[in-house]
Symmetry: C2
Subunit: 122 residues, 2 copies
């Protein structure tokens, strides 16, 4: 696929909160977009680091001993094995990089959990 | 490092064109920032896909049979084995994702080549 990826266009196709959609694949990693609003569940990825870039709005990533506030143009890498809970008081748009095998709620099962095989490309 | 990464702040520390600086590491991949102006050299990464996100300005990625114009908020993945030559008529800022072992001029050696061990964190 030698197509460019326009983030604004792709975000317009994300219609649910907390439901990352895939926009690219490289070197065994997925590039995903997600719209966040409210609180996610606390979860941990045992084997995968996870990169967040805030493209629009603000989010807070709660960690066990601190909370990191991220605005547009700010990024954060949650190291593997680190419990975290993203939160956004208003709608926020984020880009994620993570291995293809990453389950977005990690080892936590919740109503937000989407099976890896059900993650959709947009 | 549980520090957030502010892209504007990090870009202010990139003082040379065509000389990517590392801002993060995850799952064997580096996140890098680069300022582009003028033409790079044609090169190919035999084993690594390369992700470009334009954060500021515009770039053109020339491929053998087409050229892809990217503006702020647009991304492109150059698949491994694909000859490409980035160009920016005016200064542009890009974020890159690629495996740690990626040499930025691929298999091409040029005056722009920076040894992998000399790539700097900012």
């Amino acid at each position: 696929m030698m197509r460019k990826i326009n983030l604004e266009d792709k975000f317009s196709k994300v219609t649910e909160y907390w439901s990352p959609r895939i926009i690219g694949e490289l070197n065994g990693q997925y590039v995903k977009l997600a719209k966040l609003k409210g609180e996610m569940v606390w979860h941990t990825h045992d084997d995968e680091d996870e990169f967040f870039q805030v493209v629009k709005g603000r989010i807070t990533i709660h960690l066990s001993e601190e909370s990191v506030e991220l605005s547009e143009g700010e990024c954060f890498i949650v190291p593997k094995g680190t419990a975290h809970m993203p939160e956004a008081s208003e709608e926020a748009h984020v880009m994620l990089f993570e291995p293809k095998k990453t389950a977005h709620t990690g080892t936590t099962k919740s109503d937000l959990t989407v099976a890896i095989e059900d993650q959709e490309w947009i």
